[in-house]
């Protein structure tokens, strides 16, 4: 899925942010092109809607909840989603736009938890499924809500294994 950059500005001419240098608050966010939720951003200074207001923009399930005016759901735990590598099969484990872990094929299957660089487990005799599950379980235990995309991930690698 391709992304594009969108810029939002505070629409309130009386906003304190306008007193700074005339530019006001500028919010820059990268969003996927395809349509998803309706998103309304509010100025972090005055809480007024930002422009473009009311535009139907795209988000995806990995978009950090709580970032918007509350029109998106607000699950109790931060949600991690699986994403494909560019030009390749899965799997990157993402919090929004930030990769927090990955599974890849090296001399064996490799699961890396980026939050703990000392954790890089190689499973030369293990399965891809076990490696994906291991990484998922690590983040579940750390308090994240992690997509169970094991089957699509395994299917994505199928022709390479």
């Amino acid at each position: 899925m391709s992304d594009l950059w969108r810029f939002f500005e505070c629409a309130n001419p009386s906003c304190e942010s306008k007193q700074l240098d005339g530019a006001g608050v500028v919010l820059q966010i990268r969003m996927p092109v395809s349509l998803g939720h309706r998103v309304l951003f509010r100025c972090p200074v005055c809480s007024d809607p930002m422009q473009p207001d009311g535009e139907v923009l795209a988000t995806e399930s990995g978009h950090l909840p709580g970032r918007t005016s509350g029109e998106l759901n607000n699950p109790p735990r931060p949600r991690l989603t699986w994403r494909h590598y560019d030009g390749g099969p899965p799997a990157r484990l993402m919090l929004g736009q930030l990769e927090v872990g990955h599974v890849w094929a090296s001399t064996g299957w490799v699961a890396r938890d980026h939050t703990s660089p000392t954790h890089e487990a190689r499973y030369g005799s293990g399965s891809l499924r076990a490696t994906v599950t291991d990484l998922r379980q690590r983040f579940l235990a750390a308090g994240f809500d992690v997509d169970d995309a094991t089957d699509p991930i395994v299917a994505g690698f199928r022709h390479e294994t």
């Binding site: 007193q19 700074l20 608050v25 820059q28 909840p65």
Partner: protein
């Protein structure tokens, strides 16, 4: 295999470098950094979101903290070194 039951929310800590960084383990999630004049930059890598804020450095840090708390994280209090003891 059943999912593990989390005992706590993921915790974010404030780490001082060239600015103040919100980190989970060794991964940087967000940053607050003072710029010229009274402008504070907030950068959130989870959403690739950048803000130029006229708020004070402390207010910007508190804003960032509230955003991540709303997103389900357990975020350390803004350090007194940032707030200057103003709470």
């Amino acid at each position: 295999m059943s999912d593990a039951v989390p005992l706590a929310k993921p915790r974010l800590a404030w780490i001082k470098r060239d600015g103040w960084y919100l980190m989970h383990g060794d991964v940087i999630f967000a940053m607050v950094k003072a710029s010229h004049a009274d402008v504070t930059h907030v950068h959130d890598w989870t959403g690739l979101l950048e803000l130029r804020m006229p708020k004070s450095f402390a207010d910007a840090a508190r804003h960032l903290r509230s955003q991540f708390i709303a997103a389900g994280f357990d975020v350390d209090d803004v350090p007194e070194e940032i707030t200057g003891g103003e709470g």
